[in-house]
Amino acid sequence: MFKNELVIAGRRFKSRLMLGTGKFPSSTVMADALAASGSEIVTVALRRVDVKNANDDILSHIDSSRYLLLPNTSGARDAEEAVRLARLARAAGCEPWVKLEVTPDPYYLLPDPIETFKAAQILVKDGFNVLPYINADPVLAKRLEEIGCVTVMPLGAPIGSNRGIKTAENIRIIIEQSNVPVVVDAGIGAPSHAALAIEMGADAVLVNTAIATANDPVEMAIAFKFAVESACHAVNAGMATMKLKADASSPLTGFLRD
C-alpha cells in the first residue's frame, strides 16, 4: 500500500548504495570492496577502461551478472564529448545506461548544467537511461526529469571533497519535488553523511573516494553498507524529530463542536 523501494527505469534494486570504481589501490581491492558493500550499481569512467577488451583490468573485476555496470562520461567537457562516450560504450556492448557527467573544469569537476541538459536531451532520445550528475539545483532537476532522465544525482559537495551534504537545503527541495529517484552523489566522505542523505529522504547515495581512499577500503565499504541500511531502517521506523508539546487550551480550534 505504502511502497518504499528503489526503482530506476523499471528495474528494482535492494541496495541504496552505489559505488564508483576510481582511486582504489588495486582492482582486487576494488572487487572485494564492491562485494562487501552489497551494491548493485557500479559506475565506471569510460575514459579509464577499454570497453572492447574483456580482459580490461577494471572491467574484468566487475561481475556483470551481479552488478549493473553504469558507464560514466567523466572527463567530458561538453555535450558532444559526453554523447560520443556514451554511444561508444553502448556500441561495445554495455547496457544503455549512462551516468552523465559533463565537467569542464578539471579542478572541482563541477557539472556544467547547460551542456548536461543538452547531452541528456540527445541521449534520452537515443534510448539511453540517463542518470545526470548535477549541482543541487531544483529547477535543473525538474527540467531533466521532464525530458526523461531516470534519476537526478545532485552533489552534496564537490567531488572528492569528502565534505558531506553541504547543499542540504536544495537537496531537500529536490527530494520534495522529484518524481524520479534522487541519488546524492559526490561529497559523501563518511558513513554518517550517507546515512544523513537517506534520512533526509534521498533514494540512494553514490560513494567512491571515501571508500577507495580509506586505509582499509573493504572495511569502509562495510561501514557504508551498514550506514545506508541503518538509515533505511530509521526511515521505515518513522523518526520523531520534533517533540509534541502538551497544551490544554485550544485557542485555534475552540470554535469547533462535535
Partner: protein, 373 residues
C-alpha cells in the same frame, strides 16, 4: 507516471481500513516528522488524529504564515450558464431538474464583469454546467476578451476540454483551471454521475493533466465532500495534488473543500461533513503539502469562514452569486446551490483587515501573456 496508474497502487478499502485503525501513538509519530509521507498524511486524517486537532492547527498556522504570510487571495465566480447535459444527483444544474435555464449574453457578461470589478475583484472564475453547445470555444474566447478588460486573472470551471482547447484558451488569456473529481471512488462516482459525458471517470481524472500540459498557471482540484467517507476521500485528494505539484511544477496547485449544500433536486448526502471534519482535512493537507493553495468559498457560513482564518486557508471567494446573471439581476432563480456567506466583498474584506489579514485582489497580470498587451 500518470495519476491513473498511481491510483491503482492504492486500494480504497485498504486505505480506509488503515486510516480507521490508527492509534494516538501513530498520530504523535506522524506529527513529529519534519517530512511527511503519504502514509503520515493518511494518519493525520484518522479519527485518532481528532484528539490532536489543536496541535495540528498550530503547526498548520505556522507553516501557512511562513509560506503565505497574513494574506488571503480574493476571487469571485461569474456563472455563464446553468444549462447542463449531465445528471449529477447532487447538483442544482442536473439536466433533469426543472429550473429556468440560460446562458448569458456577451452584453450581460460585460454588465456582470463591470459590477464585480467595481467591488474590487480582479480574479474571476468563470463557471458553467456542461453545456458545450452554448459554452463553446468561440463563446469562451469572446468571454475572455471581455473579462480581460476588467480582471487581471481569469480561471474557468466548466466541462473538461482537450489539451489543445486548453492551450488555445491559455493563449487567449485564461490562466487558471478548476476541476473537481467529486469523488475518487470509482463505484460511488458511477452512482452519482448517471449520464452524460461526466460519467467517464478517467476522462475527468486526467483533466488537470491536460490543463497542466497546456500551461495553466493555477489548477484547482478537490472532492465534493459528502459523497464518500471524507477521510479516505481527502487522502486521494492530497495524493492527486501532490502528483500534480510534482508533475506540473510550474503550475500552482490548489485544493478546495466544497461541502454539499442544499440544491434544487433535494439530494441528501450519504455522509454528513461536520466543521471539525472539514478543518481536520484542511490541516492535514497543509501539513502534508506546505505550499498547496487552500480554497474556502462562500458555500461556507460566515462564522466558520471567520474562524478558520490562519488555519491554512489561502484563497476565499467573496460577494458570490451562483446563478447566471446573478450580479446584474436581482433574483436567485437557477442557482447551482444556495450560498451561506452572503456578505458583500466590502464587508468580507473589512473583516479580514480587522483580523490583521491583507486581502490580495491582484497577484497576476495579463501582461504575462505575450501578444495580449
Amino acid at each position: 507516471m500518470s495519476f491513473i496508474s498511481l491510483l491503482k497502487e492504492y486500494n480504497w478499502d485498504d486505505i480506509k481500513k488503515y486510516i480507521y485503525s490508527r492509534t494516538y501513538r501513530d498520530v504523535e509519530f506522524a506529527l513529529s516528522n519534519s517530512r511527511l509521507t503519504a502514509q503520515d498524511f493518511a494518519i493525520l486524517l484518522s479519527p485518532a488524529a481528532e484528539k490532536y486537532l489543536e496541535h495540528m492547527a498550530k503547526i498548520s498556522k505556522e507553516i501557512t504564515l511562513r509560506r503565505f504570510g497574513k494574506t488571503i487571495q480574493i476571487y469571485a465566480p461569474l456563472y455563464l450558464s446553468n444549462k447542463c447535459v449531465n445528471s449529477c444527483l447532487y447538483c442544482g444544474f442536473n439536466a433533469k431538474n426543472k429550473i429556468p435555464r440560460k446562458t448569458i449574453s456577451f452584453a450581460t457578461i460585460e454588465k456582470e464583469a463591470d459590477l464585480i470589478s467595481n467591488e474590487g475583484i480582479r480574479h474571476i472564475l468563470l463557471v458553467s454546467g456542461e453545456a458545450p453547445k452554448d459554452v463553446n470555444m468561440e463563446y469562451l474566447k469572446k468571454t475572455a476578451d471581455i473579462c480581460k478588460k476588467y480582471f487581471s486573472s481569469i480561471s474557468i470551471e466548466i466541462q473538461p476540454l482537450s489539451e489543445s482547447e486548453y492551450s488555445e484558451l491559455y493563449k487567449n488569456g485564461i490562466d487558471g483551471l478548476t476541476i473537481y473529481q467529486e469523488t475518487y471512488n470509482r463505484e460511488t462516482y458511477k452512482k452519482v454521475h448517471l449520464a452524460g459525458k461526466k460519467s467517464d471517470f478517467d476522462w475527468r481524472l486526467e483533466t488537470p493533466d491536460r490543463g497542466g500540459k497546456a500551461g495553466f498557471r493555477n489548477i484547482g482540484v478537490g472532492a465534493l465532500m459528502g459523497l464518500e467517507d471524507f477521510r479516505t476521500e481527502e487522502f486521494f485528494v492530497g495524493l492527486h495534488a501532490q502528483y500534480l505539484m510534482k508533475t506540473y511544477w510550474k503550475t500552482h496547485i490548489k485544493v478546495s473543500f466544497p461541502r454539499i449544500r442544499n440544491a434544487e433536486g433535494g439530494y441528501k448526502p450519504d455522509h454528513i461533513i461536520t466543521d471539525k471534519n472539514l478543518v481536520q482535512s484542511m490541516l492535514a493537507l497543509r501539513i502534508f503539502l506546505n505550499d498547496v493553495g487552500l480554497v474556502i468559498s462562500t458555500r461556507e457560513p460566515k462564522d466558520f469562514r471567520d474562524n478558520i482564518l490562519g488555519l491554512g486557508v489561502t484563497q476565499m471567494s467573496a460577494g458570490s452569486k451562483t446563478n447566471p446573471g446573478g450580479y446584474s439581476e436581482d433574483n436567485k432563480e437557477g442557482e447551482q446551490f444556495s450560498m451561506e456567506d452572503t456578505r458583500s466583498v466590502e464587508e468580507f474584506v473589512s473583516m479580514l483587515r480587522s483580523k490583521g489579514y491583507d486581502p490580495v485582489f491582484k497577484d497576476f497580470d495579463q501582461n504575462f501573456f505575450s501578444g495580449v498587451a
